[in-house]
Amino acid sequence: MPDATDFSLADFHLNDNPNVLEPPADYLEWISDPDVRQAFTFFEQQLLTAPRTRSEILSNLDRERRPIINLTSYNYLGLSTHPEVLQAARETLDRYGLSASGAPLVSGTFDLHVELARRLAEFKQKDDCLLFSSGYGGNLGALQGMMRKGDVIAMDERSHKSVIDGATLSGARKVFFAHNDPEDLAAQLEKHRDRRILVVLEGVYSMDGDLCRLPELADVADEYGAGIYIDEAHSTLMFGENGRGVAEHFGMEDRIGVSYGTLSKSFGGVGGFICANARLINYLKGYSSAWNFSCSPSPPVVGGLIKALEVATRDSTLRDRLWTNTEYFRSRLDSMGLDTGDCESQVIPLIIGPSGEKLFRYATAMQKRGLFLQPIDYPAVPAHRRRFRISMSSQLEEEDMDRALNIIEDVIVRDRD
């Protein structure tokens, strides 16, 4: 029979405990196993400073405070601690307080929210924009608000959970196509020709760092009269000549119906947004529950985000630096013969393979040496491609990167050799 480490969170979704206030009985047994507990120690480790590239954690491995090079936080452009952003957030906090204290339709819309939404719409070259209090809520609310039972949402099989959950909540039929495969998308859409169809793509896929094949996939969507929704969570402010994302990178912004972004990654705040035509945004204000029934984003966060957008787009300094760092780091990983998959972005997977034992042994050793690089295990990624996911940042100095690369070499490459 399999032992505890053969199981994962994928195996305990179904809860048949007669007491609804308790998890499944076999889950409790599993989670108490010493090897499983060891793997779970990597979750929820506390950061003791801002998520800069040099930070400090309270390690769950030994309860030690430990200075670390941080390659896990997705503070890609360092905007969460940019001095101008922090100053703007402070000023907004003093003037408006901590909370919007209301849902947007009733009393939660401040001049600040209107200003950020207007600037984001202008930036994405769409008519209008809807701001959400979380990134997850943005996809959830947009898809739930747009689509209905009888409709079809076609998603890449590697879609983010927020996309899948939004599709589920909408009541539309969920159709998954093989990753980045226009032929499979066409085969799936062929079965639903007579339906209203939305094709949902991601600019950069978050576990692999590869880009969507937008030109080919958009051609298929057009052929079937489907709308295109693109999630640019990991690409906005970074891809394209003006940082507008992967749609700009491919010169295809006018073919995108809805452009989604998150405000917690490159923007350095928290929240989500969608940009689309004014008629759809107007309609969604009545039907997108995650928008309509959530308190509006916190004023100091919005104040900081307005400044973050300005800082990131007034010139290309930050994204240029990010790409220089990414190229440097990736070429060094490649020269060590490490597997970085089909990565094309600042998200670099470092693929270890099928062994969970190796993954956690490496994670432990690297953290003890001062590198905060979190393991990504099955079911988040396929069982034969367990990995680390490196998030590059414009804040990284060459010295930090060299230290991180040395640790990776000592721990992973030496073990392999």
Binding site: D11, L14, K174, K191
Partner: protein, 82 residues
């Protein structure tokens, strides 16, 4: 329990979880995908079938299976192990 009975359990759970599929029309040599199941539907069918059969197989062992018949074989392996 026979393999035929296991296949019946799987078929019944497919019918319960998918729209417009009837048990008689399901061919066990095909994948659930061919009856319109997405990956989430398949997890649901497998979980409810395993519950009914009182077995627990790690999801990672099921990833490579190609059709309903192979799934039934895997289930039988665990049923026979007791």
């Amino acid at each position: 329990m026979t393999k035929e009975e296991v296949i019946e359990v799987i078929k019944r759970n497919i019918v319960e979880n998918l729209d417009d599929v009837e048990a008689d029309s399901i061919d066990a040599t095909k994948s659930m995908k061919e009856y319109g199941a997405n990956s989430l539907d398949m997890i649901e069918v497998v979980s409810t079938s395993m519950r009914e059969l009182n077995i627990k197989i790690p999801r990672s062992e099921l990833a490579e299976l190609g059709n309903i018949d192979e799934l039934a074989d895997k289930f039988m392996e665990y049923i026979n192990k007791g």
